[in-house]
Symmetry: D3
Subunit: 163 residues, 6 copies
C-alpha cells in the first residue's frame, strides 16, 4: 500500500476505510497567524472592546467552518464534533493576531482537519473584515499543534522531526 | 463611519451595502505555500505522474471551496464567479508546494475572498492527503497577489506598503 | 462557569463540550403557528386536496432543514437524527395553520434545536408559497413542546415556569 | 392560473418563472421577538457588554442564514444579496428581545424570504444560546415589516388588511 | 486548446472562463426514467392520489437539487435560476416513471447541468422512497432533451448525431 | 402500515424512525454507465493519461456527493460514512464509461442512497466535463449492485426478481 493513504495502488483517490477502527476520544489543536499593518492592527484592537467586533465574528466563522470540514476537504470523513472552540491572542509588537482552534470527538477518525479548517476560516474572516483597511495582510504558520487519541497516538508539533 | 467597513458605528457586524455599486469585471489572484518533510515531498512528486494524485484532488477542492466562499466567510457577499483556476508549483529545494488561485466575476463586489479561500482549501487538502506521512506540515504566506476592477482599482502585493 | 453554557468565562462563544456525556435516546417536539387572511387560508385548504400542495412542500422543507440545523445555528452540535416528522393542523376559525416537528436521535446532545428549526422552516415555506396572496401573514408562538432524554431529563412546556 | 403562484394548474410545485421580470433594486425588512424569563433576560443583558455575547453570535447567524435562504425554502429563487444586516432591541419590561433583518438586492425577484429567514435564524440562535437557562422561551410575531421594489411595489405591514 | 474545455493544455481542471460571454436567456430540459416491479409501481400510483406522495416529495427534491448544482458538479458555474420545474409521467405498461426537469436563467452560461441534476435527484428520491418495496429499481436514459440560448444555440437530442 | 415506509397512514412524508435499530456494519455498491460518441470517448481516454483528467475530477465529485446525500434526498437519514470510493472502467466497443461507488458505515441505517448518489454525481460530472464535445451523451442503468448489513440482510441485484 502507498504511504499516502488517500491514494490506492491504482492511483485512485479514496476515502480511507476506517470501518474497523475503534471509537475513541480524539482531540486536535491547530494554530496560525495573521500579520497586518500597525494601523489596521490598532483598529482591530479597539474594536475588540465592543460587541460584534472582528474577532467575535471570526470566532463564529471558525467554529461553523470546522463543523463543515468534510464538505470542503474531499476525502475527509464526516465526524460528529463534541466540542469546538476558537481563541485569539493579540501580539502588538508584530501587529499579528494568533488564532487557535480546538476540536474533540468520539469517533473512528481524528479531527486534525477540523481544527486546521477552523483556524483557517477564522483567519480568512479577519482578512475579510479588515481588507478595507489593509489588503496586504498575510496568513502564516498554520499547523497542527497537537492531536490525541486514535491508533497513531499523541502528536506534538514541537516534538516532530521537521526535516 | 468606521474604517473597518464590516462594523457600523454601533459596533454591529453588517454585510456592507454594495447595492449602489457598478457591475464591473473583477479578478483576484491569491497564493500560499505548504512545507513538508523531504520524504513526504517525494511521495507527492511521484504521485504527480499518476491520475488521481494529491494535486489533482487539491485542485478540485480549491475550485469547489472558492465557489462556496460566501457560506464560510460570514459577511462576504455571494458572487457568481465566471472563472476559477488553481495551480501548483513544486519547489524541491525547500520541500514546498506553492499554490495559487485565480477568480473572476462580473459583479458589484470583488473576489479577493474567493481567491484566498480557494488557495486555503487547496493547501488544507494537500495536508489531509499527506498527513499519514507527515503531520508536521506548515501552511504559510497566504496572501492576495493582485486584484483588479471595482472602485478601489488595482492592488498588487509587491507594491503594498507593509508596515 | 456562566449560566449561559455557550459563553465561557472570558466571554468567548464555544460549542459546549459534550465529549463526556452518555449516548442516550433523545427526542424533542416543537410547535408554532402561521396566521393569514381568510381568503389565503381558503386557498391553502383547497390545495390540500391536491398533490404538490403547500403543506406537502412545507413538510419536506421542515424535515430537510431539521437535518441541517448545525449548519445554521452556530454553536449547535451535529447530530445524526434517527427520525424526523412534520405535521400540520388547519385551524379554520383563526385562519391559522399549526405546525409541529418531532425529532429523535441516539446521541450525546439533545435535538431541541432540530425540532425548532424544522418547525420554523416549515412555517417560512408556507409563507413563501402563499405570499402572492397575502404578505401580512404572521408566524407566532414557536416553542419547545417537550423534550426527553439526557442529563436534564424531561421538559414539558406546560409545566414550565413562565416568569 | 392559481392565486398561489407556486402551484400550477395541475397542482405541481414549481419555482415561479421570473425570467421576463426586470432587474430592479429590491429591499425587505422583517422582524420578530423572543420572550424569556426575567432571569434569562438579565443574563443576556449582562453578556451584551462583553465580546462574543449572545446577540453578537445571533447577528452572524442571521446574516449567514439569509444568504442561504434558497437552500432552505424549496421554491425560493437564488438571489445575490447586496446588503444584509440584523439588529436587536432589548425590551426589559416584557423580558423580550426584538430582532429585525434588512436585506437588499438588484434582481428579478424580491428578498422577503431572505429577511424572514434571517430574523428566524437569529431568534433560533438566541434560543440555542440561552436554553440552558430557560427552555420555555417563545419566538413570536415574525412578519414582513416592509418590502420595496418589483412589480408589486411597496408593502408595509401596518397598512395591510389583516382579515 | 483542448476540445474538452474544462481541461487546459497542461491537463489542469479549470472552471471555464465565461467572463466575456453575453448575458442571454437560456433554458434546458432534461429527462430520465425509473423502472420498478409491477407491485411497487402500483403502490406509487395509488399514493399519487394522496398528499405527501412519492412524486410530490421527488418534485421538491429535484427543484432543490437543481439550485445546488454548482456545489455538486466541480467545474460548474454558479447560476441564478429564474425558473425550475420537475414533472412526472406514469408509464404503466413498462412499470416506469418518466421525469423531466426544465430550468431557465439569464446568464453567461447554460443550465444543462442544472436540468440534468434536477432530474437525477428526483429519480434518486423515488428510489429512496420506494426501496423498502423494491431494491432492484433501475434509473436509465438520463439525457439532455433540449437547450436554448448562448453562443452554441439550440440543441435537440432527437437531432443529435449519436455515433 | 404502508409498504412504502416513507409515507405514513395519513399520507405524510416522514423520515422513518430507526431509533430502535442496532448499529451494524453496512455497505452498498451502486453502478451506472455513460454512453458518448466515439470521438468524445477518445478524448476522455487520452486525457486519462494526464493529471487532472475527466475521471479524476469525476471521482472526487462522486465521493463528495456521497457524503452529502442526506442534504439532497429529503427523507434520507444522515450517516457517518467510514469509507467511500468511486471507480471507472473504460468500455471502448460501446463508447461507454462504467462507474461504480462503494460506501460503508457503522450505523442504524443503510448506505444504498449514498452509493447511488455517488455514482450519479460522478456520471453527471463526466457529462459536464465532456459536454463541449458531445451534448448527446446518455446516463443509464444506475442501480444498486449489492448491499450488506442491517435487518433486511444482503441484497444482490443479479438475484433480484425483476418483474
Amino acid at each position: 500500500m502507498s504511504a499516502l493513504t488517500h491514494i490506492d495502488e491504482q492511483g485512485n483517490a479514496v476515502m480511507v476505510d476506517v470501518s474497523g477502527k475503534e471509537i475513541t476520544a480524539r482531540s486536535a489543536v491547530a494554530a496560525g497567524y495573521i500579520s497586518m499593518s500597525g494601523s489596521c492592527f490598532a483598529l482591530v484592537a479597539q474594536g475588540r472592546m465592543k460587541k460584534g467586533d472582528v474577532l467575535g465574528v471570526a470566532q463564529v466563522a471558525g467554529i461553523m467552518a470546522a463543523k463543515r470540514t468534510s464538505e470542503l476537504i474531499p476525502l475527509c470523513h464526516p465526524v460528529q464534533t463534541t466540542h469546538c472552540s476558537v481563541e485569539f491572542a493579540m501580539l502588538p509588537e508584530k501587529h499579528q493576531i494568533a488564532a487557535s482552534c480546538t476540536v474533540r470527538c468520539q469517533g473512528q477518525t481524528g479531527v486534525e482537519m477540523e481544527a486546521l479548517t477552523g483556524v483557517s476560516a477564522a483567519l480568512l474572516t479577519i482578512y475579510d473584515m479588515c481588507k478595507a483597511a489593509d489588503k496586504g495582510m498575510v496568513i502564516s504558520d498554520i499547523h497542527l499543534v497537537e492531536k490525541r487519541g486514535g491508533q497513531s497516538g499523541t502528536f506534538r508539533f514541537e516534538d516532530a522531526d521537521h526535516v
